[in-house]
Every structure is written in C-alpha cells, then in structure tokens.
Amino acid sequence: MPKTFLPIVEKNSSGAAPPPQKVVIDPITRIEGHLRVEVEVQNGRVTDAWSAGTMFRGIELVMQGRDPRDAWIFTQRICGV
C-alpha cells in the first residue's frame, strides 16, 4: 500500500464504520489564484471532495456598458500568468 500523509482511521470495536474525517487544504500553493480543497476521508480513502475558488472580483460586472474595444484590456487581467 502506498504511503499516505492522511491518517488511517481504524475501525472501532463494534465494527461500525467510524465517522469520516475532513482534511482542509487552504491555501493550495504553487498555482495562480486562490484555491481551497476539502477532502472527506474514510478508512484512509477519499470518499468526497470539494474545491472552491476563494477570490471574486466581479470583472463581468465591471465590463458591463463599456466600449467593446476595451474588452481585451479588462479580460486580459483575469489571469496575468
């Protein structure tokens, strides 16, 4: 079995599945932007996961009503990488 940084949750004595654990990684680094990932783990396996961008500027709203020739200048700044 490959090594994992996630804790292995052992079964309790009754044999019933233990409650899932939640692992939250925020911020995710070495990317452009702001990302948060939540992972649900049961018995050392990922059972569910959620990701969220945690930054909003509203560039769509800023662009409304502007000269269409300017659109590239605004949208270029969505990501500078």
Binding site: V62, R66, V81
Partner: protein
C-alpha cells in the same frame, strides 16, 4: 524551528549563493548597473550598491496575493536579463509567497505566522492585488481568514509595506465602477502605516520593485516619494515628455487610423487614445520584457496604468483624452 536573529551577510557567502544559482560576478555587476540607472544614480554608485548587496542582512519578505491576477509576481519572476529574479532571491529571504512556496494549507499559514512573529518590525511585506471590504470581506479568503484581516495584521507589523501593482495601491481593476466587492488598496485597508511605498503599474515593473529594495539596502532609507507614495525615481517624469514620439506631437503629426502611413512611420498616438500626457512612469527609459520594448515603442498607446483610477478615467481607451 525558526531563528529570529537576522544574520549579517558576508561577501564570500553571497558569492557562494550566486555561484549556486549560476549567476556570474559580471552579471551581478550588470544588475547593480541597472539598479543605479533605474535610480538615476551616477555610475560611481555601482560599487556601493554591489558592496551593500553583498553584505546586507537578507530581509525576510512576505508576499501577499489578494484580489490579483499574479501579473506582478510574473513580472518579478520572469525577468531574466540579468537574472534579476535569481539575484533578488539571493538578496531577499522570501519566506511566504503562495505562488512559489513548497508548503500548502496549514503549513503555508505556519510559515506566514512564524515570520510575522519572529521578525516583527523587520520583514518587508509586499502586497499584490486589492482588498475587498464589502460584506465583511468575504470576496477574498486565505486559510479561512479574509484578505482584510490578513493585511491588517501583516502590514501593520512590517518594517515596510510595498504595494505592487495598481490594484494594491488604490483598488485597480476590481475597484473599477461599479466596484462590486468594495475593493480598496492597502492605503485604505490599513490606514496609517508608517512606511507604505506604492509601486503602481499594471503590472509593476520589476526594475522599479528591485530598485526600491536596493535603495533601502544601500542607503538604509526608502526612496523619496510623491504625494501618492510613489517613488520619484520611477514616477517623477511624464511619459509624454520622455516619449520618443514627442516631436511628432509638437508638429501635429498624428496617427489617425491603425496601420495608416503615420502609424507605420511611428508618429504620435495621442489621437488613438494614448494617455502618455496624463501618466508619470519611467517606461520610456526602463522599458519592459528585460528592457527590450514598451507599449508606445510597439505602436500602441499608453493606457496610463500607473495613474489613479485609470480603469475609469482612461476608458474608453481608444478615445483621445484631454490634451
């Protein structure tokens, strides 16, 4: 385990670090020359700058990304001639920068907290991107905290805060009408900072960011600034006055249409919406892309990106501004 004592630098140790990164002595001195030139210092200062960089205490740096596009980071990391980013990474101790740091999640936040705690009053805080204030600041969160709360904590304990890019200065793109998230710059999010240097531009020019830090390491003081906190060496001259097309302006020789004869002959771009007359920035001399070109040189007007509220005041960008 962190050591809260800043270590005095030494020339042999510095040269060793440069060697490791493959930066030659010649490239290092070229960098010092570029810095002297950017700061408008005479060539005799090159030796003094070199000595200061070799022996300086490496200041810890916390680089915070908020409502940004990471273009200022790109500007910082993509410079290559001489290897400005390599040199800066030797001169500085970049303790926290989400885009390039190894730790993630809680371990990343630990790097931030450790640096703030161990080097309070000694670290440089670089801020990229604006800070949203509406609805309790929910529009930008890192590690479960709002950008506003992080900025207030980290900037207020810094030796100095450098707001890089126009967004970090006064809100920039996110703050353009109708400013959906209540975005502001550092000066409004954390008012009353003892030392706040604003380095606007979309993005910041790495030569100006480097020169600001080099100025501090060489003279133990931050460069002189204008009323908006922008260093005069970079934001003291109007682009229009320094523009190589300025003579055409004086002679009423204007580009009227993209690709017309005047455009092909490099005439003035004022009628095409150039904002050079309303913009102070050292682009004509420092240029971009390792000093090779700049917008007006490439045949497009200046957007005036280092000026106050340029997204609203200077748009529509292709309509001539006030003379």
């Amino acid at each position: 385990m962190t050591n809260s004592r800043l270590v005095e630098g030494s020339a042999p140790a510095f040269e060793g670090r440069l060697d490791q990164r493959g930066v030659s002595r010649r490239e290092f001195l070229k960098f010092c020359g570029l810095m002297a030139g950017t700061l408008a210092l005479p060539a005799r200062y090159i030796g003094r700058i070199a000595y200061a960089l070799e022996t300086a205490v490496r200041p810890p740096v916390i680089w915070l990304n908020f409502q940004d596009c990471t273009a200022d980071t790109e500007s910082f990391l993509r410079a290559s001639q001489p290897d400005v980013d390599d040199l800066l990474l030797d001169i500085l101790s970049l303790n926290y920068h989400e885009t390039i740091m190894v730790p993630s999640g809680r371990m990343a936040i630990k790097s931030l907290d450790d640096t703030v705690r161990d080097y309070a009053g000694q670290y440089i805080c670089v801020v990229e991107g604006s800070i949203p204030t509406l609805d309790g600041g929910v529009y930008c969160g890192i590690g479960g905290r709002t950008a506003l709360s992080i900025a207030q904590q980290v900037c207020s304990q810094a030796l100095a805060t450098l707001a890089v890019g126009t967004c970090a200065w006064e809100g920039g793109l996110a703050a353009a009408v109708p400013n959906p998230t209540g975005a502001v710059g550092v000066r409004d999010a954390v008012p009353g900072l003892a030392t706040l240097i604003n380095l606007p531009g979309c993005p910041v020019n790495v030569a100006n960011l480097s020169a600001t830090i080099v100025h501090y390491l060489t003279f133990q003081q931050w460069p002189e600034t204008d009323g908006a906190g922008r260093p005069l060496f970079a934001y003291g001259e109007e682009i229009h006055e320094e523009c190589p097309r300025h003579d055409h302006y004086e002679h009423d020789e204007f580009v009227q249409e993209w690709g017309d004869l005047a455009h092909r002959q490099g005439w003035c771009l004022f009628q095409m919406g150039c904002r050079g007359p309303d913009t102070k920035h050292n682009c004509p001399s420092v240029k971009w892309n390792d000093g090779t070109e700049w917008p007006i040189g490439a045949g497009h007007g200046c957007l005036g990106c280092s000026e106050r509220r340029f997204w609203d005041r200077h748009s529509p960008f292709y309509v001539p501004g006030d003379d």
